[in-house]
Symmetry: C2
Subunit: 271 residues, 2 copies
């Protein structure tokens, strides 16, 4: 999917919501456990309930991988079930030497047909560029994450008022463009979004951490929005586990709609 | 597997060779392509041919993942085929927020039963520690890699003569011990092994890049060996693709034995 189509979706749905499909077999409502593929059945119901409010879905690959080959099948079925006009993110945080990254790209862009994959930057340019060789596919590079561990390395001072995460943003900008690269920027650092936008004014940001991880949507929208919106804000547990009863899909729809309505306001105000 | 058992294997086989199972369906000898699971048949033959000379096997997960659910099955079968006394490494370079890293640990340590998994450090402590909560299982943390891209971030100067990769080694040492953590250190930086050993004298190092990536085994052994050997030196393509004909397994055995003999010398000399 290209940037224009993504922006079109955002305008049409008045939403920049990404729903994180962090589907844990241990948390699925019990009435689904008798079906042939509970993970897929759960995702299918979540997608049906939220697709009106979401512009992106982000399966967290770890949840599927933890189930082995069966999990991988559930993932493939889930991806195929997502409506084609909705942006898809393989949240995989891959990254390895060039030929190996090329195979991860094959996994997510050819064997499956995700629009984007999250990539870890530690191994540098040749670990990232193999993902950039596909038309209308995207790298979402880890910039600044919202977990406690982000302070261990990402905030390391490289001198001249530059932290490692800022160097990562700058380098990534040399490797890709605003048409094939996005960045993960944690919402709990909303005060740092201004610094982010100084380096990458035009790129899309994938912002996790609204909801369970505790960021403020309003602050993110105010500081982070650009003329193409430039934001995909993710919510996972707050939506998909809004209820663990038979009404889980209805409650997920409500939670997604609540966020979408708030997003519509901010699009009106800041776009 | 614990450190003592690994060292016992090394002494018994006079080898610190790790064979990288970077099995690419596109490079498998053509006579295997008619079998039901060519990737597994290839690995099985390679394991049979090299197990006498190797103390570890390292499937590169990207190669399996690029084939989807089928690849995952080949991986599971391969892992189950490796003799129990040989150390196994899931070369996956995973790393995510705590609960997600916990699921990757479940994938490689519970659903499958690898002895270790390679982990990327960018997201810091809580992305690494979930892998450390298993008895006799190991994290192999990316320290200094051998690719060109390592210069983008790993060599960033943090002041006081410290590069990012050195900070990673130090932090990792706080999180784990020499009994549950190893480090990836690229062999093409053999001149830097002395600096590595100043920080982590007792930890095992996984050294890729001998052979196709061009490091010198002798230099690595001289600068890197400690009183438990402390080295696993990986060779992938140089062994598994030593021939692409029907004699591929024989040629793999020869290539592995050549390295093992050289290693026996260095164990004699430097241990």
């Amino acid at each position: 999917m290209n940037r224009a189509s993504l922006f079109e979706q955002i305008q049409k749905k008045k939403s920049f919501l990404c729903v994180g499909l962090d589907t844990d077999i241990k948390k699925i409502p019990s009435h689904l456990l008798d079906t042939e593929d509970p993970v897929f059945e759960f995702n299918k119901a979540i997608i049906d309930a939220t697709k009106e409010f979401a512009v992106a879905y982000k399966p967290n690959i770890a949840f599927y991988e933890s189930l082995g080959a069966e999990g991988w099948k559930s993932l493939e079925k889930t991806l195929n079930y997502i409506p084609k006009e909705i942006f898809t993110i393989a949240d995989a945080k891959r990254g390895d030497i060039g030929n190996t990254s090329g195979l991860y790209a094959r996994a997510f862009f050819e064997n499956m047909s995700f629009d984007s994959v999250t990539v870890a930057p530690y191994m540098g340019e040749d670990s990232v560029t193999p993902f950039l060789g596909y038309d209308n596919k995207w790298v979402i590079l880890l910039g600044l994450t919202s977990n406690q561990g982000s302070f261990d390395f990402q905030h390391c001072d490289l001198g001249k008022n530059e932290a490692l995460w800022q160097r990562v943003l700058k380098k990534g900008k040399e490797w890709g463009t605003e048409d094939n690269m996005m960045y993960v920027v944690g919402a709990t650092r909303a005060d740092m979004l201004k610094k982010v936008r100084e380096i990458i004014p035009d790129h899309f940001l994938l912002v996790p951490g609204v909801g369970a991880q505790g960021g403020s949507l309003q602050k993110v929208a105010e500081a982070g929005m650009n003329d193409h919106c430039g934001l995909l804000v993710n919510s996972s547990r707050g939506i998909i586990y809004a209820s663990n009863g038979e009404d889980f899909a209805d409650k997920a729809a409500e939670a997604a709609q609540t966020l979408q309505k708030e997003m519509a306001e901010y699009l009106e105000k800041y776009l």
